[in-house]
Symmetry: C2
Subunit: 277 residues, 2 copies
Amino acid sequence: MSPTTAQGTLVLIGGREQKDGERVILTEVARRAGPGTLVVATLASEEPDCQWRRYAKAFTELGVRRVEHLAIADREEALSPDITQIFDGATAVFFTGGDQLKIVAKLGGTSLLARMRELFEGGGLLAGTSAGAASMGEVMLVAQGPRENSHKVEGAFYMTRGLGLVSDLIIDQHFAQRARIHRLLGAVGENPGVLGIGIDEDTAVIVRPQESFQVIGSGAVYVVDGSGVTHTNVSETASRDTLRLFDVKLHVLDGHSGFDLNARRPFRDRASHSSDT
Amino acid sequence: MSPTTAQGTLVLIGGREQKDGERVILTEVARRAGPGTLVVATLASEEPDCQWRRYAKAFTELGVRRVEHLAIADREEALSPDITQIFDGATAVFFTGGDQLKIVAKLGGTSLLARMRELFEGGGLLAGTSAGAASMGEVMLVAQGPRENSHKVEGAFYMTRGLGLVSDLIIDQHFAQRARIHRLLGAVGENPGVLGIGIDEDTAVIVRPQESFQVIGSGAVYVVDGSGVTHTNVSETASRDTLRLFDVKLHVLDGHSGFDLNARRPFRDRASHSSDT
């Protein structure tokens, strides 16, 4: 990353990105991490050491010179004053998957999170896969209701505060694979001002906050724009009712396209994502 | 049904409608069948006798006086000249679930289908659940690709000709339950002139062709309107590419809403579906 960049970049991955072979997404993360340390944060995982070994191997193979492990078992560890030192010399953080609630419960309100935000605002890279991606929004979707009830409005209330590293976006992951259009629609119905972003597995968005994002990887990204919604029952009915939502705009993006966050318009084949570093 | 009705009504059910208890949808079918014979067509099923017994019991309990079983093992039986007699005195046909390809392979181009269309055009009721609903469009979606690949354009090509009883609609069923937004989007991308209708389980649309439909049941109905699509890669790329589709309009409807097919607009709480018989 150029040190003159006013703000950093986010790479939000839908989960299950390729770890061998072509691995387009991890290659892009490694390239953008640049010459500094890449910190692998396993806060969401039940098996942090296993995750750490897999990603350390992959990033090392992809040319990252220094990879460090941020392993935090509980909030007490997150509050330890020494722990922020791991970010000295760091240019990038990569959050692994697991449970996004664990990330936020450990990091929320800590000086460790403040240090991470500082790194990001100084032009650093924050990347996350699956839960690691979902945790970065101001609000996040934390649990899927039983699939039989996924059309119920109550699904929309499985939301809680995220890390707030990117505003006005709700990120959902494993999108096509776990039938999540309904819960994302419910979340957008709740607040049509936010943009819903559903990311398939092995697919990522590279976000320049307040500007645009570009899609990479093998799957699709679904953009749910509720700004034109003319009617919904989200606020007026009991939470067990079925969702009603008129006039949502939906875009399906592949790796040859992206989205202008200010104009709220999709675009094709812009080269900006590979020329800005 | 009033004998002066210019055309019949369709009831398209997303599958797994309640067969005991409140059973809103089957009650509506029974009511609309009126005093004539209701023919239960088990053409899609591997277990036609079992299906027949379940529905005969339910419809009899719901007040239908005469219920007949249209069981057709193969096309030879469908071509038998005597078989059309089952429709003498019939006011309604109910297609059970199973495999929609079986329905079309047995019925396509037969005088039995012509007789059924006659009944419908004379004001009769055609109802179908799951495969029975999907078979009624001009084109139908016949098989889901592996879920891992459901964002691929190739999914859009799992289409074949249906019975053509309702034009300009593509019907998909078990919608929320089987993660089918992607294949429906692919189908609409292929021909943005058709309207995609995704129906959840235990949910139905009551269609007055070329006019409107009303939603009943416990789930949601997703309307995918591609008429405003500004760009897609469906026709320009190899079939293994990921779908790209900009500016789809999406509506989520519950049982207190419906859709005007001419204006292509959703509406709330119109009483037309219960006052037109």
